[in-house]
Symmetry: C2
Subunit: 503 residues, 2 copies
């Protein structure tokens, strides 16, 4: 049937197509049936809602659909029922434990991006991957298909470096130091980051405190070709869009199949044209990868996948057992990162990790001799060259390069927890720290978060401050305090326990 | 937040909850988030749509929700974000290949029925079952949980018999003969049936040609206690509602995990209070179960599951390699079944199967001596007692008991295919026959379908009629003809092929 488009003021989280009751009956369409809308150029798939909010001869579409195709009000489209997508057969093949061919994976990814596959099929695919896995041939095909069904960047500079942390450690503002250090050494590093998903601040959330992070690929190309670096939000780009879709099912099921994680990360690097990629795998209690053995296995997969993609990949297994630096939350982390760049110094965990990672990239990119990267990175940081590059990045991304750390606004509702006893700090619970910062409002409330005064191994006296919670409202502060009281974020091992050995 | 309910004129195929944009922002709700609506008595779960079609202080709900709870316009409800359902953990356990405990299965089923699990989680569960399976303990727990989360029937007669065909054979109107034969022998058989899902006519679609099929459980109880039988549509009842929900994912993925199939069938028998259950497993090319070995394995599972449920189960493995009788499609099948009941005779495939199954039930129910059931069934059919019982059923179910087969309207647009060559009929393709009948409009168009003039093994001469297509419109007739020309529904092995051996 042909129908005029009416754009409905709603976001349903899926591609909803409203069809009048009579017309649906005539066309034998039922609620949630898959239909295709054909316009001159493009075919868009959607899910039927039957409703008399639209008249005969009209179809209503939810605004979600506009992300994929810019329908105009009153535009005439052809609405057709859609049969079962071909790729369902390949999903079944994976259920049966069979290896998928390249073209089969490509079809699945294309159908995901076209929204021909919906929650049911995508969830089944993700579940089948979680159970039956993917081998390296399949992962490579998946990675390339995910990249090629989205936009890709072609920067006229070589070599292109990239760094990615697989995440899970609170306060990990490391890459905000790494990127300007590497670019200050003359290398090119077009860094895209995500916003927080389950953490208290993604790199993009932190950078957004002093600069814009949403740019088009053309703008990124211009910035990077001019200054050699950027720090932007990947979500504003159409990089490997299949990943943004499958992640919804992964999150609902709280699974993260290894093959899909590898493809998710590397497809974005591939789309950005990265040639030298450093992967940071934080390891320790309460992060994604808990043991060094697991980290090593994952590292081998990243390196092998890189080879298949024509990328040179190195992996750094880093300590992720407690937060990096002293702050957690967008504005607090922005302050700490900016302070470190300006002064060339800062908390050991931040400076060591940042110069360590940057050093590897300098060696990979051929600007530092083997074994000299970290030293060179530290010199670049201490010399102020990294700060200078950061100012360029901030300026190109529409921020104020003269901003001082203390000018960055943070939450004015605060509460400080003190040590209930004297002793050594034996553990800081990553998940609890993240939970408190999120309860305080991070990442949506930029000024919310935590400042930590202690790290593992340090000695405290009863009554010493342990950490301060920052929030933008009393209500949020109270929530965070309640959460903190339940969560035991910091464990102090006092004298009592130590005496056991003396008996 | 508290809000007034507005019922929106729409069916979205899921439980949509419309929330005003400002309010959603305040409550940090995003499109497709799971929320719970709390009323005095009940908690209902739904998926967020963000829209200014509703005002602040209001929530809109799609009419789908009314199936679960009868909200009234303007009713005040509390809307709360809902965390991840607990049962997601158990679905993950099944992904890991672990055995689920009874209470875990109960939680999953309860969350499905409450709509706390949505497409993503349900599809993951179904996929995990397809891959990792269920053992008999799990299947029994699933069956009972599915029955007990729905309505259950308690009929004051003993013993309660039941018969179920796992389907796949076109033209299978057998049970329309079996039920009145068994009831005429004094046994009780409250038969529920489904409508066609992928076939051209479900038993409920055929019965509906001469009687009502939608009744409440109370009405069914009254009918069955009066006349010992009914033939109603199970879908009108709230029997094992989890099954109706999971079937959506199974259909989209075209999978049917064995454990879920067993639980689906047997939960409904359990809910109807059936004590003696006969399962018909048609076996042959183009039906669900293709080999006798598979059928035997499945039979053992049915019998074992029956034991766990306190039911006595027998299984008949029947020939399903070609259609039963000569007709396919609701009205045509209704004519054939009624004709057979009235005359006590009919096509061999129909009469043999019907009296065979009925005979087993007569023996199971203790009214026929062992080995004498089929003979007794045939006598009941030939004596007209089965027809008399059928008249009672039709009358109690609001139909006209005096209806004659030739008074049942069938499609007046017809087209007859003839034999293109002389020879023996070597195959009739079940799937092609179903496809043609559906193309002609069955099961929605009651008068659409096929009349077959030949069966496998019969000899035809060139030009002899093979089958006639019936449709209610020229357009549908044309569609069916086109489909039939492509599909090769009937294969004739003529002289040409036989001559090859003579060379």
């Amino acid at each position: 049937m042909k129908a005029k488009v009416r754009i409905l003021d709603m976001y349903s989280g899926r591609y909803s197509v409203f069809i009048n009751e009579k017309e649906a009956k005539k066309a034998k369409l039922h609620p949630d049936d898959l239909v295709k809308l054909e316009t001159g150029k493009k075919t868009v798939y959607g899910s039927v809602t039957i409703s008399n909010l639209v008249k005969e001869g009209e179809i209503g579409i939810s605004k979600d659909v506009l992300q994929l195709h810019n329908f105009s009000e009153g535009e005439v489209v052809t609405v057709l029922p859609s049969g079962a997508p071909e790729s369902v057969r390949y999903i079944k093949k994976k259920m049966n434990g069979e290896k998928l061919r390249k073209v089969e994976i490509e079809t699945i990814v294309k159908d995901i991006v076209d929204r021909k596959l919906r929650d049911i099929e995508i969830s089944s695919f993700v579940t089948a991957l979680e159970i039956n896995g993917l081998d390296m041939d399949e992962i490579a095909a998946l990675t390339i298909a995910m990249a090629e069904t989205g936009d890709m960047l072609d920067i006229d500079r070589k070599p292109i470096m990239d760094v990615h942390s697989i995440g899970g450690v609170p306060g990990n503002k490391t890459n905000i130091l790494v990127v300007p250090i590497v670019a200050a050494a003359g290398l090119t590093i077009p860094k895209t980051s995500s916003r927080a998903i389950t953490s208290a601040a993604g790199t993009a959330d932190v950078v957004e405190v002093f600069a814009e992070v949403s740019f088009s690929l053309d703008e990124i190309k211009r910035i990077v070709e001019k200054i050699g670096a950027c720090m932007v939000w990947g979500g504003a780009l159409n990089l490997a869009p299949a990943d943004d879709i499958t992640i919804k099912a992964e999150r609902a099921l709280s699974i993260d199949p290894v093959g899909l994680m590898l493809a998710s990360i590397m497809s974005k690097k591939y789309a950005m044209g990265s040639q030298y990629v450093l992967i940071d795998i934080p390891t320790g209690k309460g992060v994604k990868v808990e043991t060094v053995d697991e980290a090593r296995a994952l590292a081998r997969d990243f390196i092998e996948l890189g080879k298949r993609l024509g990328q040179y990949v190195e992996v750094a297994i880093t300590y992720g057992g407690q937060p990096i630096g002293h702050t957690v939350g967008p504005a607090l982390e922005a302050r700490e990162a900016l302070q470190a760049l300006m002064s060339g110094t800062g908390p050991g965990s931040l400076i060591e990790k940042a110069t360590g990672l940057a050093g590897i990239l300098l060696e990979m990119g051929g600007v530092a001799p083997s074994g000299m990267g970290k030293k060179m990175a530290r010199e670049i940081l201490e010399s102020g060259k990294a700060y200078q590059k950061m100012r360029e990045i901030i300026e190109e991304q529409g921020g104020n390069p003269d901003i001082k750390p203390e000018e960055i606004p943070i939450g004015d509702k605060t509460y400080t927890f003190t040590a209930p006893t004297s002793g050594y700090i034996t553990a800081i619970d990553n998940k609890a720290i993240t939970g408190i910062a999120r309860a305080a409002g991070a990442p949506e409330d930029k000024g919310a978060g935590i400042e930590l005064y202690v790290k593992v191994g340090e000695k405290v006296k009863e009554g010493d401050p342990l950490f301060t919670i920052y929030a933008e409202s009393e209500a949020r502060l109270d929530q965070a305090i309640v959460f903190a009281r339940r969560a035991e974020p910091i464990r102090i091992e006092g004298m009592v326990l130590q005496r056991i050995g003396n008996i």
